[in-house]
Amino acid sequence: MAANVSSHFISEKISKVRWLPEELQQSERFITGSWDMNTNYVRLWRLQANTYEQNVEQTPQCSDKVAFENDITGMEFVNNDTIAVGCADGHLSLLSVQRAVEEDQIWRTARSERLHEFKRSCTAAPCTALAVYGSDIATVGEDGSVNVLNANNLKQVKLTLNPDSMALLSVTYVNQNELVTANRMGVMRMLDVRVANEAQKKISLYASCQDAKSSNYVSAITTHPMQQHVLICGCEEGSISVWDLRNMKYPASYLSAHNSPITDIGFHRRNPNKLFTAAEGGEVWMWSENNMAFDTDQKDGNSVWICGDRVRALVNVDGVLTNIRKAINSFDVQGSRLICGSDSEAIYLVNDIQ
């Protein structure tokens, strides 16, 4: 467990947490989204110097909030001060942040039509995740559909795809034109955002699982920030599968990791040598590439992550947070700071990510 962790109880179960992007400095502001509360909020926080205790340097102060209709399920920045927020009522919203010296502000600028719904009963289907590329936003929902919108016009849906007849749990952009979605059965599909349903090439990847007879959903996917052909996903059984998108027949690597479902997975924004995983059991691990070992036979464009069985030897694993006991639902890293949101209704701030 990292030495410098502070926890702050904020009376909300947190489903998403993101640092506000800052160009030149360490961000002092972050936003959280809550779930399963009487009223769910997206809150804007700011770290302020702590005047009371010596061992905790900073405490977050809520500067502003926006009430939402249902659970917050996805939150990504479109640009420096616009956030796309997916909600369990099937809508997508855009929020704007105004940074100020005294009180920062956040407000809702746009809300889409209902993007996800169950056709038969005409009830809202929760939007489960969203991904952003440039000004494009892709949302996936429990109805198994994918919607692509542009942040400049939420009223118009650019494209709707129905790849699955069950809930999709996660989505990410592989490049400008291609998306990867993952469903409850652990099937991931590569979708082209330029073509309609019928013309989609049927490319699917199956997450590996220790026991082929048990169900294993994929709950989080991400791509390597530099080597975009490396796709990493975290599964229900707590394992990590890695694909080389240039060769999609088999997963390139398979690592058993946590012993509870993985909730979030992501690379360090600036330092792609580091991967972080968070799990339902209350853990955050940091996987750092062991460059010394890898340099010896480094080939062009090859990542340690696709080295199959050797990955274990090439990557060091450290527990950043352990023993939280409640699910860590989301995290975000910026600079040397990691922030986590948890079901324990607390934010955990880790200050010394090396």
Partner: protein, 682 residues
């Protein structure tokens, strides 16, 4: 702070008024609500006549009553969440192998971390109370005031408990800690003192100057008093000098000091003070003299000051400091009783002791049993009693006391944790906290979890997965499956068959999986539409849940091969399917019709042996089926079921298949035999 009498309800609807306001109530299962409605008692001796309410327009109104809880306020949630963490830390600590002395310091730490959680929460409440949105909202303001009141009492009692029962030093002197305790709970004097100190020399002109100094003395804060006095312009006068000298030289007990020696010193110092007072050393300064009278413990003067105090225990520690500085816990009992009597004599006749004061007295009088009884009456949803008894249980404090009193602490702890955990689990969105408590009360707790988990309303699948994960960790396979089943049914009713099938597979429920697979197969044989192809293709090894699912998957494989014009492989698979003995009755026509184009194709795809097998299936399976169907159709009772049972979208009458198939088989058999035999010869 507490309800002395049980709460009373009045419904006030017309029906209830007419029946003489009698009510009936039922506990709503799975929640902490009570449903109340008007009720008229009918007994054996009531007259059997139509009641006067017959034909009246009054509706029966059902009212829901719920125990008010502080913790619905979002700010107070953090108290619950944070204490859950401390609670679990305590449980792991209790199970660890550390030595008992080490543990005791750890326990004290836990106790103070509980208290710091309360203090932190109090601070948040005080801040929030000043917000404009709360100021305008009366209900909220009332709630906040009540919450502050309750939490404040809890902290105050917990602190006192910690001092008297947890900090077991070998010299066992309680006065210094008690002074600390009052200092925290009556901070006004200290605030005023700070102001005076900042004012410097001018302070003495301040109206409240002497009043504040007196208070400081009564709170036993000698150092601050001296500091303020030394700022006096007349500080160099003999009276002040003497006072300074006396206050400075007051013996303070230090650890490792012989108690006997200390007492002698203190006696000497005290008689010195008395002597100076009788010699009127301070007579020039009446206010200072009064102060010194207090220091001397003059009953007359203390009684006068008592009139202004807020509560009986406010000045007790100060008084003890000047009259009995080496007071031990068992002596405190007598001192507290006397002091309380003295205080109450000063009160007006209709004065009533508040709950908090009574509980403080109970603690000081060592009436812990009564104290524990009273903690359960606080309106904090048993937060305090649960946590303190859990702590008492783990630290093993007062074991002999409780044995004598016949209090079974382990049982009490268990039932309190159980109640508290169940309360959290059944309250909206606190279930994740409740589960931690129920985990620590043995079998009953686990049983409660397994009962309560499936009752949590599921809004999204992500939440469902969280609940499933909790059940999985505890090995509640049934709970896990129940939740999956519910979700499967929900999806099925919503015509999301793919989702329904997947949930059913997760539920490992053979009947449910079979039913959904049946539905998909029947739908196919009626319409030619294969539902949720994406799910069927990715089921893989999970198909072994149900034979029907295996059949569905294999048939789909055939369907795909056929669609891709891989006829040889398709034919092979089809024959396998025919032989497999897992074909459901209603699917025979479809399966055999599927064989038709393969039999009739120009170059034979099916060998003679297989053709014979197909023919055999036709005669052995389909013919009897059709016969049975016909017979059944004559009985109008189950006409519906059978008519739908045998059907394929490609033919109008199932009977037609027979002729077509027989012909096709015969033709194919002939061709196949010729080809096979020819190739054998060559």
């Amino acid at each position: 702070m507490i309800n002395e009498s049980p709460p009373a309800f009045e419904l006030g609807d017309t029906l209830a008024t007419r029946c003489g306001n009698t009510l009936t109530g039922v506990f709503v299962p799975g929640s902490s609500k009570i449903a109340l409605s008007a009720y008229r008692p009918v007994k054996w001796n009531s007259r059997d006549a139509p009641s006067e309410t017959v034909g009246s327009e009054d509706f029966v109104l059902v009212h829901m009553a719920k125990e008010a809880s502080l913790f619905e306020e979002p700010l107070l949630r953090s108290l619950l969440a944070e204490t859950t963490v401390t609670f679990t830390t305590l449980q792991t600590l209790a199970q660890s192998q550390k030595s008992s002395t080490k543990k005791i310091t750890e326990y004290t730490k836990i106790s103070s971390s509980y208290r710091s959680v309360i203090r932190c929460c109090l601070e948040k409440l005080e801040l929030a109370k000043k917000l404009p949105e709360v100021q305008e909202n009366d209900a909220k303001q009332k709630l906040f005031a009540e919450a502050i009141m309750t939490l404040y009492s809890v902290e105050c009692l917990w602190h006192l408990f910690e001092i008297l029962y947890m900090q077991q030093q070998h010299y066992q002197l309680v006065v210094p800690q008690l002074l600390e305790w009052t200092r925290f709970h009556y901070p006004q004097a200290e605030d005023e003192a700070t102001d005076l100190l900042l004012m410097g020399e001018e302070a003495s002109e301040f109206d409240n100057y002497w009043q504040t100094l007196k208070k400081l003395i009564m709170f036993g804060q000698l150092d601050v008093t001296r500091a303020i006095l030394s700022q006096q312009p007349q500080a160099s006068q003999p009276a002040f000098q003497a006072a300074e000298q006396l206050l400075k030289s007051m013996p303070v007990y230090q650890e490792g000091y012989a108690l006997q020696k200390f007492t002698t010193q203190w006696e000497y110092w005290h008689s010195d003070l008395e002597r100076k007072l009788t010699a009127h050393v301070f007579a020039t300064e009446p206010e200072l003299e009064l102060m010194m009278q207090l220091v001397a413990g003059s009953n007359k003067h203390w009684d006068a000051e008592l009139l202004d105090s807020h509560d009986w225990y406010e000045y007790l520690p100060g008084y003890l400091l000047y009259t009995k500085p080496s007071c031990k816990p068992f002596e405190l009992r007598i001192a507290a009783t006397n002091w309380q009597n003295r205080w109450s004599r000063q009160q007006p006749a209709d004065w009533k002791m508040s709950q908090l004061s009574r509980m403080v007295l109970q603690l000081m009088k060592h009436e812990v049993k009564q104290f524990i009884y009273d903690t359960q009456k606080l309106s904090d949803s048993h937060w305090f009693s649960t946590h303190i008894i859990d702590l008492i249980h783990h630290t093993g404090l007062l074991t002999t006391y409780f044995e004598q009193q016949g209090v079974e602490i382990p049982e009490l702890r268990q039932s309190l944790i159980y109640d508290y955990g169940s309360y959290l689990m059944t309250s909206h969105n606190l279930w994740q906290l409740g589960i931690d408590y129920l985990d620590h009360c043995q079998q009953e707790g686990l049983a409660a979890i397994s009962l309560l988990l499936p009752h949590i309303p599921i809004k999204t699948e992500r939440q469902a997965f969280k609940i499933i994960q909790l059940a999985k960790q505890r090995g509640f396979v049934e709970v896990e499956q129940d939740i999956c089943k519910v979700l499967s049914k929900r999806a099925y009713n919503d015509e999301r068959y793919g989702s329904a099938l997947e949930w059913a597979i997760r539920a490992k429920d053979v009947l449910l999986v079979t039913a959904i697979a049946d539905f998909i197969l029947k739908n196919y044989s009626h319409t030619g539409n294969m539902l949720c192809k994406d799910v069927i293709t990715s089921i893989g090894a999970r198909m072994f849940v149900s034979p029907r699912l295996i059949f569905l998957l294999k048939y789909y494989e055939f369907y795909e091969l056929y669609g891709q014009r891989e006829f040889l492989a398709a034919a092979d698979l089809l024959v396998n399917l025919l032989d497999s003995k897992i074909t459901p009755d209603y699917f025979w026509p479809t399966l055999l019709i599927d064989a038709l184009p393969l039999l009739e194709s120009e170059d034979p795809k099916i060998f003679s042996k297989e053709t014979v097998a197909i023919l055999q299936h036709l005669e052995m399976e389909l013919v009897p089926l059709i016969e049975r169907n016909k017979r059944a159709r004559k009985q109008p009772s189950n006409q519906q079921t059978n008519e739908t049972a045998l059907k394929d979208y490609r033919v109008e009458h199932t009977e037609e298949i027979l002729d077509l198939m027989r012909l096709a088989c015969a033709r194919n058999l002939a061709r196949a035999m010729i080809i096979e035999n020819t190739s054998n010869i060559s």
